[in-house]
Protein backbone atom coordinates (compact mmCIF):
# COMPACT_ATOMS: atom_id res chain seq x y z
CA UNK A 1 0.00 0.00 0.00
CA UNK A 2 1.35 3.37 -0.89
CA UNK A 3 0.52 6.85 0.22
CA UNK A 4 -1.43 8.57 -2.44
CA UNK A 5 0.39 11.72 -1.56
CA UNK A 6 3.82 11.54 -0.03
CA UNK A 7 4.93 14.83 1.52
CA UNK A 8 8.44 15.95 0.70
CA UNK A 9 11.04 15.64 3.47
CA UNK A 10 9.25 16.48 6.72
CA UNK A 11 7.64 19.84 6.29
CA UNK A 12 7.55 20.26 10.05
CA UNK A 13 10.73 18.38 10.92
CA UNK A 14 13.00 20.88 12.71
CA UNK A 15 16.10 18.73 12.22
CA UNK A 16 15.67 18.82 8.48
CA UNK A 17 15.41 22.58 8.42
CA UNK A 18 18.46 22.96 10.70
CA UNK A 19 20.48 20.85 8.34
CA UNK A 20 19.29 22.91 5.37
CA UNK A 21 20.14 26.14 7.18
CA UNK A 22 23.69 24.85 7.76
CA UNK A 23 24.06 24.02 4.08
CA UNK A 24 22.83 27.41 3.11
CA UNK A 25 25.13 29.19 5.56
CA UNK A 26 28.08 27.79 3.69
CA UNK A 27 27.02 29.52 0.51
CA UNK A 28 27.51 33.19 -0.18
CA UNK A 29 23.79 33.77 -0.37
CA UNK A 30 20.95 34.71 1.88
CA UNK A 31 20.03 31.79 4.12
CA UNK A 32 16.65 33.17 5.07
CA UNK A 33 15.66 33.58 1.45
CA UNK A 34 16.74 30.04 0.71
CA UNK A 35 14.73 28.59 3.57
CA UNK A 36 11.65 30.59 2.65
CA UNK A 37 11.86 29.51 -0.95
CA UNK A 38 12.31 25.89 0.02
CA UNK A 39 9.25 25.97 2.27
CA UNK A 40 7.18 27.51 -0.46
CA UNK A 41 8.54 25.02 -2.93
CA UNK A 42 7.12 22.28 -0.76
CA UNK A 43 3.79 24.08 -0.62
CA UNK A 44 3.92 24.27 -4.38
CA UNK A 45 4.45 20.55 -4.74
CA UNK A 46 1.61 19.96 -2.28
CA UNK A 47 -0.63 22.01 -4.50
CA UNK A 48 -1.10 24.89 -2.09
CA UNK A 49 0.48 27.35 -4.46
CA UNK A 50 0.72 27.69 -8.23
CA UNK A 51 4.04 27.84 -10.03
CA UNK A 52 3.23 31.27 -11.36
CA UNK A 53 2.56 32.56 -7.88
CA UNK A 54 5.80 31.02 -6.65
CA UNK A 55 7.73 32.65 -9.42
CA UNK A 56 6.13 36.03 -8.96
CA UNK A 57 6.58 36.02 -5.18
CA UNK A 58 10.33 35.52 -5.28
CA UNK A 59 11.35 37.09 -8.54
CA UNK A 60 12.63 40.38 -7.19
CA UNK A 61 14.40 38.74 -4.28
CA UNK A 62 16.08 36.20 -6.54
CA UNK A 63 17.23 38.94 -8.89
CA UNK A 64 18.62 40.93 -6.01
CA UNK A 65 20.41 37.90 -4.65
CA UNK A 66 21.64 36.21 -7.82
CA UNK A 67 21.48 38.88 -10.54
CA UNK A 68 19.27 36.70 -12.74
CA UNK A 69 16.16 34.59 -12.40
CA UNK A 70 15.96 31.47 -14.47
CA UNK A 71 13.00 29.94 -12.76
CA UNK A 72 9.50 29.73 -14.11
CA UNK A 73 10.71 27.82 -17.13
CA UNK A 74 7.93 25.25 -17.29
CA UNK A 75 5.08 27.67 -16.84
CA UNK A 76 2.55 27.79 -19.60
CA UNK A 77 1.99 31.24 -20.97
CA UNK A 78 -1.62 31.09 -19.84
CA UNK A 79 -0.53 30.57 -16.22
CA UNK A 80 1.93 33.39 -16.52
CA UNK A 81 -0.58 35.79 -18.03
CA UNK A 82 -2.98 35.05 -15.18
CA UNK A 83 -0.53 36.13 -12.53
CA UNK A 84 1.23 38.84 -14.45
CA UNK A 85 1.04 42.52 -13.63
CA UNK A 86 -0.25 45.12 -16.06
CA UNK A 87 3.18 45.80 -17.48
CA UNK A 88 3.55 42.22 -18.71
CA UNK A 89 6.90 42.03 -17.02
CA UNK A 90 6.50 38.47 -15.83
CA UNK A 91 5.52 37.33 -19.29
CA UNK A 92 8.62 38.96 -20.68
CA UNK A 93 10.87 37.37 -18.16
CA UNK A 94 9.46 33.90 -18.61
CA UNK A 95 9.87 34.20 -22.36
CA UNK A 96 13.38 35.44 -21.87
CA UNK A 97 14.36 32.36 -19.94
CA UNK A 98 13.67 30.04 -22.87
CA UNK A 99 17.11 30.61 -24.28
CA UNK A 100 18.91 28.48 -21.80
CA UNK A 101 17.82 25.17 -23.17
CA UNK A 102 20.53 23.05 -21.66
CA UNK A 103 20.01 24.06 -18.05
CA UNK A 104 16.28 23.86 -18.44
CA UNK A 105 16.46 20.27 -19.61
CA UNK A 106 18.73 19.60 -16.70
CA UNK A 107 16.14 20.97 -14.28
CA UNK A 108 13.35 19.06 -15.91
CA UNK A 109 15.24 15.82 -15.68
CA UNK A 110 15.72 16.33 -11.97
CA UNK A 111 11.99 16.31 -11.67
CA UNK A 112 9.87 19.20 -10.67
CA UNK A 113 9.70 22.49 -9.00
CA UNK A 114 10.96 21.35 -5.62
CA UNK A 115 14.20 20.22 -7.14
CA UNK A 116 14.31 23.41 -9.10
CA UNK A 117 14.00 25.52 -5.99
CA UNK A 118 16.57 23.46 -4.15
CA UNK A 119 19.14 23.38 -6.91
CA UNK A 120 18.67 27.10 -7.23
CA UNK A 121 19.59 27.47 -3.56
CA UNK A 122 22.44 25.00 -3.49
CA UNK A 123 23.95 25.80 -6.82
CA UNK A 124 23.83 29.54 -6.47
CA UNK A 125 23.00 31.91 -9.30
CA UNK A 126 24.52 30.66 -12.54
CA UNK A 127 27.85 32.16 -13.57
CA UNK A 128 27.18 35.64 -12.45
CA UNK A 129 30.12 37.79 -11.42
CA UNK A 130 28.42 41.10 -10.96
CA UNK A 131 28.79 42.54 -7.50
CA UNK A 132 25.87 44.88 -7.83
CA UNK A 133 22.57 43.10 -8.19
CA UNK A 134 20.81 43.81 -11.41
CA UNK A 135 17.09 44.17 -11.75
CA UNK A 136 17.18 43.84 -15.50
CA UNK A 137 15.59 40.71 -16.95
CA UNK A 138 17.90 37.99 -18.21
CA UNK A 139 19.14 38.93 -21.69
CA UNK A 140 18.53 36.70 -24.67
CA UNK A 141 21.65 36.02 -26.72
CA UNK A 142 22.19 38.65 -29.41
CA UNK A 143 21.39 36.40 -32.35
CA UNK A 144 18.15 35.07 -30.93
CA UNK A 145 17.14 31.44 -30.94
CA UNK A 146 17.65 29.45 -34.07
CA UNK A 147 16.35 25.91 -33.86
CA UNK A 148 18.45 23.41 -35.74
CA UNK A 149 20.11 20.04 -35.45
CA UNK A 150 23.43 18.32 -35.33
CA UNK A 151 22.86 14.92 -36.90
CA UNK A 152 25.62 12.44 -36.41
CA UNK A 153 25.53 10.23 -39.51
CA UNK A 154 28.34 8.12 -38.10
CA UNK A 155 26.02 7.04 -35.29
CA UNK A 156 23.00 6.44 -37.50
CA UNK A 157 22.42 2.82 -38.48
CA UNK A 158 19.28 3.15 -40.55
CA UNK A 159 16.83 1.71 -38.05
CA UNK A 160 14.12 4.08 -39.31
CA UNK A 161 12.63 4.54 -35.83
CA UNK A 162 12.76 8.31 -36.32
CA UNK A 163 10.83 8.00 -39.56
CA UNK A 164 8.11 5.88 -37.97
CA UNK A 165 7.91 8.08 -34.87
CA UNK A 166 7.57 11.25 -36.92
CA UNK A 167 4.79 9.71 -38.95
CA UNK A 168 3.06 8.51 -35.80
CA UNK A 169 3.11 11.93 -34.23
CA UNK A 170 2.20 14.03 -37.25
CA UNK A 171 -0.28 11.71 -38.88
CA UNK A 172 1.22 12.22 -42.31
CA UNK A 173 -0.17 10.18 -45.14
CA UNK A 174 1.50 7.07 -46.46
CA UNK A 175 4.45 8.07 -48.53
CA UNK A 176 4.80 11.51 -46.98
CA UNK A 177 8.05 11.06 -45.12
CA UNK A 178 8.70 14.32 -43.39
CA UNK A 179 11.62 12.55 -41.79
CA UNK A 180 13.44 10.39 -44.28
CA UNK A 181 16.53 8.26 -43.94
CA UNK A 182 18.37 7.06 -47.02
CA UNK A 183 20.89 4.30 -47.16
CA UNK A 184 23.26 5.01 -50.01
CA UNK A 185 26.40 3.80 -51.64
CA UNK A 186 29.20 5.65 -53.28
CA UNK A 187 30.45 4.06 -56.51
CA UNK A 188 33.86 3.18 -55.09
CA UNK A 189 32.93 2.43 -51.49
CA UNK A 190 32.04 -0.96 -50.11
CA UNK A 191 30.03 0.13 -47.12
CA UNK A 192 26.72 1.79 -47.18
CA UNK A 193 26.21 5.16 -45.53
CA UNK A 194 23.13 6.88 -44.27
CA UNK A 195 21.72 10.28 -44.96
CA UNK A 196 19.09 11.61 -42.59
CA UNK A 197 16.90 14.10 -44.36
CA UNK A 198 14.79 16.42 -42.28
CA UNK A 199 13.75 19.81 -43.50
CA UNK A 200 16.85 21.97 -43.12
CA UNK A 201 14.88 24.99 -41.86
CA UNK A 202 17.15 27.11 -43.97
CA UNK A 203 18.17 30.56 -42.90
CA UNK A 204 17.83 31.68 -46.51
CA UNK A 205 15.00 29.41 -47.52
CA UNK A 206 14.17 29.36 -51.23
CA UNK A 207 10.80 27.84 -50.41
CA UNK A 208 9.87 30.92 -48.44
CA UNK A 209 11.02 33.28 -51.15
CA UNK A 210 9.01 31.62 -53.89
CA UNK A 211 5.72 31.14 -52.05
CA UNK A 212 3.22 33.41 -53.85
CA UNK A 213 0.87 33.72 -50.89
CA UNK A 214 3.17 33.86 -47.90
CA UNK A 215 1.99 30.53 -46.51
CA UNK A 216 5.56 29.29 -46.27
CA UNK A 217 7.31 31.58 -43.81
CA UNK A 218 10.10 31.77 -41.25
CA UNK A 219 9.16 32.38 -37.65
CA UNK A 220 11.07 35.40 -36.57
CA UNK A 221 11.48 34.36 -32.95
CA UNK A 222 13.26 31.09 -33.61
CA UNK A 223 13.91 30.53 -37.32
CA UNK A 224 11.46 27.69 -37.85
CA UNK A 225 10.29 27.50 -41.48
CA UNK A 226 6.61 26.62 -41.40
CA UNK A 227 3.64 26.25 -43.75
CA UNK A 228 0.36 27.92 -42.95
CA UNK A 229 -2.33 25.41 -43.87
CA UNK A 230 -5.05 28.05 -44.03
CA UNK A 231 -3.32 30.19 -46.64
CA UNK A 232 -1.51 27.69 -48.87
CA UNK A 233 -2.99 27.33 -52.36
CA UNK A 234 -1.11 24.15 -53.17
CA UNK A 235 0.85 25.46 -56.14
CA UNK A 236 3.79 23.21 -55.13
CA UNK A 237 6.36 25.84 -55.99
CA UNK A 238 8.04 25.31 -52.62
CA UNK A 239 8.47 21.66 -53.49
CA UNK A 240 9.91 22.61 -56.86
CA UNK A 241 12.34 25.12 -55.35
CA UNK A 242 13.58 23.05 -52.42
CA UNK A 243 16.95 21.52 -53.28
CA UNK A 244 16.51 18.82 -50.63
CA UNK A 245 13.15 17.33 -51.60
CA UNK A 246 11.76 17.94 -48.12
CA UNK A 247 8.27 18.94 -49.16
CA UNK A 248 5.14 16.82 -49.40
CA UNK A 249 1.85 17.66 -51.03
CA UNK A 250 -1.45 16.31 -49.79
CA UNK A 251 -2.65 14.76 -53.04
CA UNK A 252 -5.88 13.38 -51.62
CA UNK A 253 -7.67 13.45 -48.31
CA UNK A 254 -5.31 12.89 -45.36
CA UNK A 255 -5.25 9.36 -43.94
CA UNK A 256 -5.70 10.73 -40.42
CA UNK A 257 -7.10 14.26 -40.33
CA UNK A 258 -5.92 15.86 -37.14
CA UNK A 259 -7.60 18.61 -35.19
CA UNK A 260 -5.89 18.63 -31.83
CA UNK A 261 -5.28 22.34 -31.85
CA UNK A 262 -2.84 22.22 -28.98
CA UNK A 263 -0.49 20.42 -31.34
CA UNK A 264 -1.51 21.57 -34.79
CA UNK A 265 -1.54 25.28 -34.01
CA UNK A 266 1.46 27.18 -32.71
CA UNK A 267 1.45 29.97 -30.15
CA UNK A 268 0.47 32.50 -32.81
CA UNK A 269 -2.68 30.49 -33.42
CA UNK A 270 -1.66 29.54 -36.94
CA UNK A 271 -2.34 26.07 -38.28
CA UNK A 272 1.14 24.84 -39.08
CA UNK A 273 1.39 21.22 -37.99
CA UNK A 274 -0.25 17.86 -38.40
CA UNK A 275 -1.25 16.42 -41.76
CA UNK A 276 -2.12 19.17 -44.21
CA UNK A 277 -5.67 19.25 -45.58
CA UNK A 278 -6.15 18.09 -49.16
CA UNK A 279 -4.48 20.28 -51.73
CA UNK A 280 -2.02 21.83 -49.30
CA UNK A 281 1.74 21.50 -48.75
CA UNK A 282 3.42 20.17 -45.60
CA UNK A 283 6.87 19.23 -44.38
CA UNK A 284 8.97 18.61 -41.30
CA UNK A 285 8.17 21.33 -38.75
CA UNK A 286 10.52 20.74 -35.78
CA UNK A 287 7.34 20.69 -33.70
CA UNK A 288 6.53 24.39 -33.17
CA UNK A 289 3.84 23.58 -30.59
CA UNK A 290 6.44 21.74 -28.54
CA UNK A 291 8.94 24.58 -28.80
CA UNK A 292 6.23 27.00 -27.70
CA UNK A 293 5.69 24.99 -24.56
CA UNK A 294 2.14 24.02 -25.45
CA UNK A 295 2.76 20.35 -24.77
CA UNK A 296 4.60 20.81 -21.51
CA UNK A 297 8.00 21.89 -20.43
CA UNK A 298 9.57 18.50 -21.11
CA UNK A 299 9.06 18.85 -24.82
CA UNK A 300 10.59 22.29 -25.33
CA UNK A 301 13.89 21.94 -27.12
CA UNK A 302 13.31 18.47 -28.48
CA UNK A 303 11.60 16.82 -31.42
CA UNK A 304 9.87 13.50 -31.98
CA UNK A 305 12.68 12.12 -34.09
CA UNK A 306 15.24 13.07 -31.48
CA UNK A 307 13.18 11.35 -28.82
CA UNK A 308 12.84 8.22 -30.91
CA UNK A 309 16.50 7.95 -31.85
CA UNK A 310 18.30 5.48 -29.64
CA UNK A 311 21.59 5.77 -31.53
CA UNK A 312 22.55 9.23 -30.28
CA UNK A 313 22.38 10.47 -33.87
CA UNK A 314 19.84 13.29 -33.71
CA UNK A 315 20.46 16.37 -31.59
CA UNK A 316 18.00 19.22 -31.70
CA UNK A 317 18.45 22.59 -30.09
CA UNK A 318 19.35 26.23 -30.40
CA UNK A 319 22.21 26.46 -32.88
CA UNK A 320 23.01 29.97 -31.68
CA UNK A 321 23.64 28.75 -28.15
CA UNK A 322 27.06 27.16 -27.63
CA UNK A 323 25.69 25.33 -24.59
CA UNK A 324 22.81 23.72 -26.42
CA UNK A 325 22.51 19.98 -26.85
CA UNK A 326 23.51 19.82 -30.52
CA UNK A 327 26.52 22.07 -30.06
CA UNK A 328 27.61 20.19 -26.97
CA UNK A 329 27.30 16.89 -28.80
CA UNK A 330 29.47 18.18 -31.61
CA UNK A 331 32.02 19.53 -29.16
CA UNK A 332 32.12 16.28 -27.25
CA UNK A 333 32.41 14.23 -30.44
CA UNK A 334 35.23 16.40 -31.69
CA UNK A 335 36.96 16.14 -28.33
CA UNK A 336 36.71 12.37 -28.56
CA UNK A 337 38.35 12.34 -31.99
CA UNK A 338 41.44 14.38 -31.47
CA UNK A 339 44.02 14.77 -34.15
CA UNK A 340 47.66 13.97 -33.62
CA UNK A 341 49.40 17.34 -33.72
CA UNK A 342 52.58 16.20 -32.01
CA UNK A 343 54.57 16.25 -35.22
CA UNK A 344 52.64 18.75 -37.31
CA UNK A 345 51.26 21.57 -35.23
CA UNK A 346 49.03 23.26 -37.76
CA UNK A 347 46.70 20.35 -38.24
CA UNK A 348 43.05 20.77 -37.28
CA UNK A 349 42.36 19.83 -33.69
CA UNK A 350 40.08 16.95 -34.53
CA UNK A 351 39.49 14.44 -37.32
CA UNK A 352 35.76 14.93 -37.45
CA UNK A 353 34.17 15.76 -40.81
CA UNK A 354 31.12 17.95 -40.70
CA UNK A 355 29.06 19.50 -43.46
CA UNK A 356 25.84 21.29 -44.18
CA UNK A 357 23.98 19.65 -47.04
CA UNK A 358 24.14 21.42 -50.41
CA UNK A 359 25.60 24.47 -48.71
CA UNK A 360 26.82 25.86 -52.02
CA UNK A 361 23.20 26.29 -53.10
CA UNK A 362 23.09 29.31 -50.81
CA UNK A 363 20.26 28.14 -48.59
CA UNK A 364 22.03 28.44 -45.18
CA UNK A 365 20.63 25.15 -43.89
CA UNK A 366 20.05 24.83 -40.14
CA UNK A 367 21.23 21.25 -39.86
CA UNK A 368 24.88 20.33 -39.37
CA UNK A 369 25.85 16.77 -40.23
CA UNK A 370 28.72 14.85 -38.69
CA UNK A 371 30.01 12.49 -41.31
CA UNK A 372 30.69 12.54 -45.04
CA UNK A 373 28.52 14.36 -47.53
CA UNK A 374 27.10 12.14 -50.27
CA UNK A 375 28.87 12.80 -53.55
CA UNK A 376 26.98 13.56 -56.77
CA UNK A 377 27.54 9.94 -57.78
CA UNK A 378 25.99 8.50 -54.62
CA UNK A 379 22.93 6.38 -55.14
CA UNK A 380 20.25 5.30 -52.70
CA UNK A 381 20.10 1.60 -51.86
CA UNK A 382 17.87 -0.46 -49.63
CA UNK A 383 18.95 -0.20 -46.02
CA UNK A 384 19.18 -2.80 -43.25
CA UNK A 385 15.62 -1.94 -42.24
CA UNK A 386 13.33 -1.45 -45.20
CA UNK A 387 10.42 0.91 -45.46
CA UNK A 388 8.20 -2.07 -46.19
CA UNK A 389 9.12 -3.61 -42.85
CA UNK A 390 8.13 -0.40 -41.12
CA UNK A 391 4.84 -0.29 -42.98
CA UNK A 392 5.77 3.00 -44.55
CA UNK A 393 5.60 2.27 -48.25
CA UNK A 394 3.27 4.29 -50.44
CA UNK A 395 1.50 2.44 -53.16
CA UNK A 396 -0.68 5.40 -53.97
CA UNK A 397 0.51 5.63 -57.54
CA UNK A 398 -0.08 2.00 -58.44
CA UNK A 399 -3.37 2.20 -56.64
CA UNK A 400 -4.35 5.22 -58.65
CA UNK A 401 -3.40 3.67 -61.92
CA UNK A 402 -5.42 0.58 -61.09
CA UNK A 403 -8.39 2.04 -59.34
CA UNK A 404 -8.42 5.72 -60.06
CA UNK A 405 -9.23 8.13 -57.29
CA UNK A 406 -10.76 5.38 -55.19
CA UNK A 407 -7.21 4.64 -54.03
CA UNK A 408 -7.82 7.35 -51.45
CA UNK A 409 -10.04 5.01 -49.55
CA UNK A 410 -7.53 2.18 -49.58
CA UNK A 411 -5.93 0.94 -46.36
CA UNK A 412 -2.35 1.91 -45.75
CA UNK A 413 0.08 -0.40 -47.46
Amino acid sequence: MTDEHRAPPAMDDPDYWDRMADVLDETDHDTELGLEMARDAQRLVAGEMTEAEYHEKYHDAVLTEFGEDERGLDLSMADVAEVDGADGGLTERVEGTFDDEASRREFVKKGGVAAMGLSMLLGGGGGDDEAAPSTAPAEASDDGTRWGMVINLNNCDGCLECVAACKGLHGTSTGAHWMYVMAYEEPEAEEENFFVRTCMHCGDAPCEKVCPVGARHTREKDGLVLSDYDICIGCRYCMVSCPYGANYFQWGEPDRPMDNENFTHDERGRWVDGPPPEGVMGKCTFEPAWQDGQQGENLVGTTMCEQACTRDAIHFGDMNDPESDPNQHLAAYEAAHENDTSEFENRPDDTVSTFRALEERGTDPGVVFIGDEPSPEARQVEGPVTYEEQGLVDDRKSGVLDQGAAANAEEEA
Binding site: G144, R146, C202, G203, D204, K209, T218, E220, G223, D364
Partner: protein
Protein backbone atom coordinates in the same frame (compact mmCIF):
# COMPACT_ATOMS: atom_id res chain seq x y z
CA UNK B 1 4.23 37.28 -40.82
CA UNK B 2 5.09 40.62 -42.34
CA UNK B 3 8.67 41.47 -41.47
CA UNK B 4 9.39 45.02 -42.37
CA UNK B 5 13.08 44.49 -41.87
CA UNK B 6 14.99 41.33 -41.15
CA UNK B 7 15.70 41.54 -37.48
CA UNK B 8 17.24 38.10 -37.41
CA UNK B 9 19.49 37.00 -40.23
CA UNK B 10 17.03 34.35 -41.35
CA UNK B 11 13.92 36.48 -41.83
CA UNK B 12 13.16 37.91 -45.25
CA UNK B 13 13.28 41.67 -45.52
CA UNK B 14 10.28 43.38 -47.05
CA UNK B 15 12.16 44.80 -50.00
CA UNK B 16 13.50 42.20 -52.38
CA UNK B 17 14.52 41.77 -56.02
CA UNK B 18 10.88 41.81 -57.04
CA UNK B 19 10.46 45.34 -55.73
CA UNK B 20 12.93 46.71 -58.23
CA UNK B 21 11.97 44.29 -60.95
CA UNK B 22 8.23 44.92 -60.95
CA UNK B 23 8.00 48.55 -59.90
CA UNK B 24 11.19 49.66 -61.62
CA UNK B 25 11.53 47.58 -64.76
CA UNK B 26 8.32 45.77 -65.70
CA UNK B 27 5.95 48.64 -64.98
CA UNK B 28 8.26 51.28 -66.45
CA UNK B 29 6.76 51.01 -69.95
CA UNK B 30 3.33 51.45 -68.40
CA UNK B 31 4.40 54.56 -66.51
CA UNK B 32 5.79 55.97 -69.76
CA UNK B 33 2.59 55.07 -71.59
CA UNK B 34 0.41 56.77 -68.99
CA UNK B 35 2.49 59.93 -69.06
CA UNK B 36 2.39 59.97 -72.84
CA UNK B 37 -1.37 59.49 -72.83
CA UNK B 38 -1.89 62.71 -70.94
CA UNK B 39 1.01 64.79 -72.18
CA UNK B 40 1.28 64.16 -75.90
CA UNK B 41 -0.51 65.77 -78.88
CA UNK B 42 -3.25 65.46 -79.99
CA UNK B 43 -4.41 65.44 -76.40
CA UNK B 44 -7.73 64.64 -74.84
CA UNK B 45 -7.76 64.00 -71.13
CA UNK B 46 -11.19 62.40 -71.39
CA UNK B 47 -9.88 59.75 -73.73
CA UNK B 48 -6.90 59.23 -71.48
CA UNK B 49 -9.30 58.66 -68.64
CA UNK B 50 -11.30 56.27 -70.80
CA UNK B 51 -8.13 54.29 -71.31
CA UNK B 52 -7.39 54.30 -67.61
CA UNK B 53 -10.98 53.25 -66.92
CA UNK B 54 -10.57 50.33 -69.30
CA UNK B 55 -7.35 49.31 -67.57
CA UNK B 56 -8.91 49.43 -64.13
CA UNK B 57 -12.19 47.91 -65.24
CA UNK B 58 -10.56 45.00 -67.01
CA UNK B 59 -8.33 44.25 -64.02
CA UNK B 60 -11.33 44.32 -61.70
CA UNK B 61 -13.44 42.20 -64.04
CA UNK B 62 -10.67 39.68 -64.48
CA UNK B 63 -10.03 39.18 -60.78
CA UNK B 64 -13.64 39.69 -59.83
CA UNK B 65 -14.70 36.99 -62.25
CA UNK B 66 -11.98 34.72 -60.96
CA UNK B 67 -13.12 35.41 -57.42
CA UNK B 68 -16.67 34.40 -58.24
CA UNK B 69 -15.46 31.23 -59.94
CA UNK B 70 -13.29 30.28 -56.98
CA UNK B 71 -16.13 30.90 -54.55
CA UNK B 72 -18.34 28.59 -56.59
CA UNK B 73 -15.61 25.95 -56.47
CA UNK B 74 -15.30 26.45 -52.74
CA UNK B 75 -19.02 26.08 -52.18
CA UNK B 76 -19.29 22.95 -54.30
CA UNK B 77 -16.10 21.09 -53.43
CA UNK B 78 -14.34 22.39 -50.32
Amino acid sequence: MIPLAGTASYTLPFVGPGTYLIFGVVLAPIYVMLVAWFLGYPRDAKKGLLGVAYLAGLTTSLWGGLFVATMVIKALFF
